[in-house]
């Protein structure tokens, strides 16, 4: 199949870092090879042919040459630059957030076609004028699914009994919903996830039950709160169940009140932070944009 030293692939650029004076290392997600890194030579030059074609948040067709260490981008043509997304502060922040999630959850060279499709689909969704925060929730839920962390929402993850329409609990450490009975049992036991992460966890006696603090090795001083279970209302559970098995078009039809929306956000992001064991940095920026400058809020 052509020249074995070079190959062509679709890609969505995740991030880029500068290399020397004029070159860039770009990280991108491809349908065939998963996440890859390559050098874009001369991308910082003003008249570069690559320049704008390797910016993050663009969907490209790339031709790469195999290199000894990193591959080299020889050509890149933009298929979709997601202009609508880039011309709006809020939507761009959403875009950057999902790129950060993809980057932190995936390993290099591990192929995951459905994840690529989800990413592309989500970026298209964010380009639509009426897109809301729920796109992010849908993305998070399905991202978890394709990565093998699909939350169990039908039965209690401890006792396997069907969930009753009462306020249940979402447990990040168990990766699913706990019935009220099992949840109370869990929190009485204290550290539910201590067995798998015992070397990282330091329980502080002054903290309330069920809430633990994790201190990352590589970031001394930055302690993040890892709450292990969140109450999950009946409506929130229904929405999560619905979204888990439907496409964007159906998901968009659901009207979600802002309280419910922030409940979903809390649960899903809590689970994500638990899995990554680090903060998702772009969240702070999304939060900042959510704070009202009243008349000049998001979306305009």
């Amino acid at each position: 199949m052509g020249d074995p030293r070079s190959y062509q692939t679709e890609s969505i650029v995740i991030k880029q870092t500068k290399l020397g004076e004029f070159d860039k290392i770009i990280t991108f997600y491809t349908p065939e090879f998963g996440k890859l890194k390559a050098v874009a030579k001369g991308a910082c030059r003003p008249v570069s042919k690559l320049g704008g074609n390797v910016e993050p948040l663009t969907y490209n067709l790339m031709l790469l040459a195999k290199g000894r260490n990193l591959d080299i981008v020889t050509q890149s043509q933009t298929i979709d630059a997601f202009l609508a997304l880039k011309s709006d502060l809020w939507r761009m922040a959403c875009g950057l957030y999902i790129l950060e999630l993809i980057d932190s959850f995936t390993m290099e060279k591990s192929e995951n076609r459905p994840l690529f499709d989800l990413l592309l689909d989500t970026l298209h969704q964010l380009c639509q004028a009426d897109s809301t925060e729920l796109v992010l929730r849908y993305f998070e839920l399905h991202l978890l699914h394709y990565l093998g962390y699909r939350p169990q929402l039908r039965r209690c993850v401890m006792c396997n009994s069907p969930l009753k329409p009462v306020v249940n609990f979402f447990s990040s450490s168990q990766g699913g919903v706990l019935c009220p009975y099992c949840n109370s049992k869990e929190s009485r036991h204290g550290e539910p996830f201590a067995s798998c992460h015992s070397e990282h966890v330091s329980q502080r006696p002054e903290q309330s039950e069920g809430e633990e603090f994790y201190r990352a090795h590589d970031r001394p001083g930055e302690a993040i709160s890892l709450k292990s279970s969140y109450p999950l209302s009946v409506n929130a559970l229904k929405i999560l169940r619905l979204w888990q098995d439907c496409d964007y078009t159906t998901a968009r039809r659901v009207k979600v009140k802002s309280e419910l929306s922030s409940e979903l956000e809390q649960v899903l992001q809590g689970y994500i932070v638990y899995l990554l064991q680090q903060k998702v940095k772009s969240v702070a920026w999304l939060e900042e944009l959510k704070k009202p400058l009243d008349n000049h809020g998001r979306g305009d």
């Binding site: 003003p46 320049g51 704008g52 910016e55 933009t78 922040a93 772009s282 702070a284 008349n295």
Partner: protein, 202 residues
């Protein structure tokens, strides 16, 4: 540390310091060290003084946060310049190319970075508050945003637009289009689209 262990102590010390600089490996560091060892005393002294003067004398302009050796930089002191226009740039080195065009007669404001959510850099870490402070007295009529046309620069520009617009001050940003010497065939869609949108009549 262990790299230069067999050398005489002062030589090893300097080599280690050179080694910390970007782009200088242990071999380069040694070569520079031996070069200085052989060079005349004045030359070595001049280098040492120049390095120290850089750290000692340079500070940030109290108005625009450009680098300067005085309290306010020469641009902010210049009475001939139009102080009602502020051009916002990412870093001090961005001022130089803008000055070289000879087309801009206003003053500057250096943000010292861009909003970069993925790196956790938010607006508070930049000199945004200081910019808003400069806009308070009403003497400024236009803010020109000259951040780089990439994702972070764009985010910063849109953020500035969001907070400056309500103040009733004109806010504009550098045009995007094709650079001199470029080739249409290889231009990216974003740039070409912008070039079409903002085309100029002859």
């Amino acid at each position: 540390m262990r790299k230069f262990v067999s050398l005489a102590k002062p030589v090893a010390r300097l080599a280690e310091e050179f080694n910390k600089l970007p782009g200088i490996g242990p071999k380069n560091a040694q070569r520079l060290t031996y070069y200085l060892l052989r060079s005349p005393d004045e030359e070595a002294k001049a280098l040492a003084e120049a390095i120290w003067a850089l750290k000692e004398k340079i500070k940030l302009c109290s108005v625009c946060f450009n680098i300067t050796d005085q309290d306010t930089c020469s641009i902010c002191q210049d009475k001939e310049r139009d102080h009602s226009k502020i051009c916002v740039v990412e870093k001090p080195s961005d001022i130089l190319p803008l000055e070289r065009t000879g087309k801009y007669n206003g003053v500057y404001h250096v943000l010292h970075g861009t909003i970069s959510p993925a790196q956790g850099v938010a607006a508070e870490q930049l000199k945004v508050k200081e910019l808003l402070y400069r806009l308070q007295d009403g003497s400024v009529t236009e803010v020109i945003v000259a951040t780089n046309p990439n994702l972070e620069g764009e985010t910063t520009a849109m953020y500035l637009q969001r907070i400056i617009m309500p103040l009733g001050i004109r806010i504009s940003r550098l045009a995007r289009g094709l650079p001199f010497g470029a080739d249409l065939e290889y231009a990216d869609d974003v740039t070409l689209g912008q070039a079409l949108d903002h085309r100029q009549e002859f």
